[in-house]
């Protein structure tokens, strides 16, 4: 309950600010040419990037899972790998290679390369699970492979695709660093600029309210897009193994295009980060600067992940074991908040703590609380799938055998959900390590995380100095990305 209330702070804050600003001022700040420019940029970005991510993500997943692609085990992991490179590191690498990158084209390029794995991972998981019986029926009815793909396979991926598309769009709305570096203005970059010129001024808040509106619109679109049809197998017997479509003479083009994609999205940024790191030499590895940044990042990552998982547990437990309108409302609140960009959550916390709770203002606790709100769903999703697999009956059996309810819960349910909890925690950890905007706004005095240090160095175009931080972020992210990939396969395979 408390968490749900807490999670409504950012949304309530935006509404409150819009109302107290007064209608006339609000209108004059929202209805102006600059907002039109930002709206056009932001909408174009979403409209262009999301379909590209869908094509690349589904195409890649299909090649890997359903064709005789040589080395498909390797490609399966390679296509998920770009997720280990934070978008703003990707942008930094590209901009240092091609300094003239700017505007919408570059924005689409960089965000597509950074975010297509968000579609690829769920699509691959769903494809590997699809019952081939439907496709066999389609084939027996005379449908060719292409027609069968579009009319049978693709509709079954609907949930994975709308979910992936929503994730990509929310990332696009929230991204700051990557777009600031290539001089592409969206609502989030403009809010940050307003914040830097006025710290919590009215104009920034009004931009935030438009951004929140866009986020809610996307959430609604996803619910509509997902539909309510059932996709699970209902027949008896066990599921067949999908046949892999022979690629034949398409083998080489397929290999080449995947190679190009992975090189652009993963190879190039990694190579450039390494190049800058080598060019900077030993001098940029100044231990007195980057060791504290590494330790603070680890601290926030570990504590944030632990707190988020602990907070998520009762919510997931309620939702799975005791689904009522109340538990559903709780969950909804959290999803809405986590769809808000870090900058809006950050602004809200700055205002609320400075006015109502100055004692906690600029403390570690507030930053952790913001992380919890922003990343709670990542832990929730993972925990839910774990809880579903830990049947209530086992706990009841333990109680029947004389174990106290508390111990039964501890020994049975908690133990069974531990792997899922670990997976969720890893996801949250990954998100915190790469978080920039909320950290910039809320961090206690003297905080230096890898992300903020990287940002301050790369803003001064000290590319060599920034490289070690980028490298460390990638190194920390890589195992988490692998875990995420692995986990999604397992979740789909149940």
């Amino acid at each position: 309950m408390l968490i749900a209330l807490l999670s409504l702070i950012p949304l309530g804050y935006v509404v409150y600010m819009t109302v107290t600003t007064g209608w006339d001022t609000a209108v004059s700040l929202i209805v102006r040419p600059r907002v039109g420019e930002l709206l056009l940029n932001t909408v174009l970005l979403v409209v262009l990037t999301v379909p590209l991510c869908l094509v690349l993500g589904v195409g890649g997943a299909w090649l890997v899972e359903r064709t005789t692609l040589a080395g498909h085990r390797f490609w399966a992991v390679a296509l998920a790998a770009p997720l280990a490179i934070p978008a703003f590191v990707n942008s930094y690498a590209w901009v240092s290679a091609v300094p003239s990158l700017e505007g919408i084209g570059s924005g689409v390029l960089i965000s597509t390369l950074s975010y297509f794995p968000l579609v690829y991972i769920p699509a691959a998981a769903a494809l590997s699970r699809l019952d081939p019986a439907l496709e066999h029926s389609a084939a027996s009815l005379g449908l060719g492979p292409w027609a069968s793909f579009f009319r049978v396979v693709l509709p079954q991926l609907r949930v994975a695709l709308t979910g992936g598309a929503l994730l990509v769009s929310l990332h696009l709305l929230a991204e700051y660093g990557a777009f600031a570096m290539i001089r592409f203005d969206t609502f989030t970059t403009a809010i940050m600029i307003q914040f830097q010129s006025t710290f919590n001024g009215t104009a920034g808040n009004m931009l935030a309210s438009v951004l929140v509106f866009l986020c809610l619109l996307l959430l609604l679109a996803e619910v509509r897009g997902r539909g309510s049809a059932r996709y699970s197998r209902v027949g008896s017997g066990s599921q067949g193994i999908a046949l892999r479509l022979p690629l034949g003479r398409y083998q080489l083009p397929a290999q080449l295009s995947l190679l190009a994609l992975v090189l652009l999205a993963f190879g190039l940024p990694l190579a450039l980060v390494l190049r800058w790191a080598v060019q900077g030499g030993a001098a940029v590895w100044t231990a007195d600067e980057f060791v504290p940044a590494l330790l603070q990042t680890l601290f926030y990552g570990v504590v944030g992940a632990a707190v988020t998982t602990v907070v998520a547990f009762p919510l997931a437990y309620l939702a799975v074991r005791n689904p009522t309108w109340f538990s559903k409302a709780l969950e909804l609140c959290n999803y809405v908040t986590s769809s808000l960009p870090g900058i809006v959550v950050g602004l809200a916390f700055v205002t609320v703590t400075i006015r109502l709770a100055p004692a906690v203002y600029q403390t570690t606790g507030v930053l952790i609380a913001a992380y919890v709100l922003l990343f709670l769903p990542r832990a929730l999703v993972s925990l839910r799938s774990g809880l579903v697999q830990a049947p209530k009956e086992l706990e009841e059996a333990a109680q029947a055998l004389g174990t106290s309810p508390f111990l039964a819960f501890l020994r049975v349910t908690l133990r069974l959900t531990a792997p899922a909890a670990a997976g969720g925690a890893a996801l949250v950890f990954l998100a915190i390590v790469n978080e920039l905007t909320a950290t910039l706004l809320l961090s206690p005095n003297g905080t230096h995380t890898l992300a903020t240090e990287f940002w301050s160095k790369s803003s001064e175009i000290d590319y060599a100095g920034a490289a070690p931080y980028a490298l460390l972020m990638i190194v920390l992210s890589a195992p988490m990305t692998y875990l995420l990939f692995h986990q999604s396969k397992k979740a789909a395979g149940q």
Partner: protein, 350 residues
Amino acid sequence: MKLRKNALAGIALAATAALGLAACGSGSSAPAAGGSGGSKISGEITVYNAQHESLTKEWVDAFTQETGVKVTVRQGDDSEMSNQIVQEGAASPADVFLTENSPAMAQVENAGLFADVDKATVDQVPAAYRPSTNKWTGIAARSTVLVYDKKKISEDKLPKSMLDLAKPEWKGKWAASPSGADFQAIVAALLELKGEAATIEWLKGMKENFKAYKGNSTAMKAVNAGEVDAALIYHYYYYGDQAKTGENSKNVTPYFFKHQDPGAFLSVSGGGVLKSAKNPAAAQAFLKFITGKKGQEVLKNGTSFEYAIASNVEANPKLVPIKDLQAPTVDPAKLNSAKVTELMTQAGLL
């Protein structure tokens, strides 16, 4: 919550009173700060820093080494930090506030949040580089400059005044970083020198003509790479890059407007001690250190290439001497940052 607020206000009041008493005590109690007498100060201070992180780090390291005072730095932009201090009011964790330019200092001064600067510090800084109120002081200076590509603009085609950049013939030809405090200080000077009508007209012309970059160094890099012909920035980005590899400025030439033009504006970086400082003695000592010989020599000999202005330390010899810049006279206390962001928002630049 209310109780807590009152308690905080009480503490702040007590602190202010104590400060007042100390000030009444005698003007000569201050010299204990910094310098040779560093024995009286100790503990730690928090600096809200909008100056370049690397420059402040040099100051902080030297100061900590000399006095043992631990310094925690919060990094941000000029107006972000000034607005933050104003909102935090007496509860601000900051002891010292350092900026790149003066409008943000004026804002905190107008909110009545600065303590008087110690006389010993004031005496180190020439009157031209500090406000007459002595609520804060200049710590360094930076000159406006147009960096350009000689291959694209011949010398006779250079603008006579910064105001010319709003004319149609400059469309698409120049760059700036409007989101930065540096640029906003230039606009503040323009506002003070030419008035609101001329300023908004210039800003609207600018919106038509210029290309926006994030940060002065990025704007200069764009000139160097041939993406744009010229950029309106501060001088030391050029000299700093020249002193390193020259990688981002080898095709770039600096042009100073001179003749008291708004484009010849010399912006004063500020430093002040907050009334609510928890360790005012160490905070004052830090300010005295920065404006003292050692602090200013960091500017002369270091890699920041900002102008040294105090304690008779000369500017870095690689720079154009400060007296040759023919900067217009602007009282740094009069620069109005809130009005500037308002006008820039109105012109669609923010």
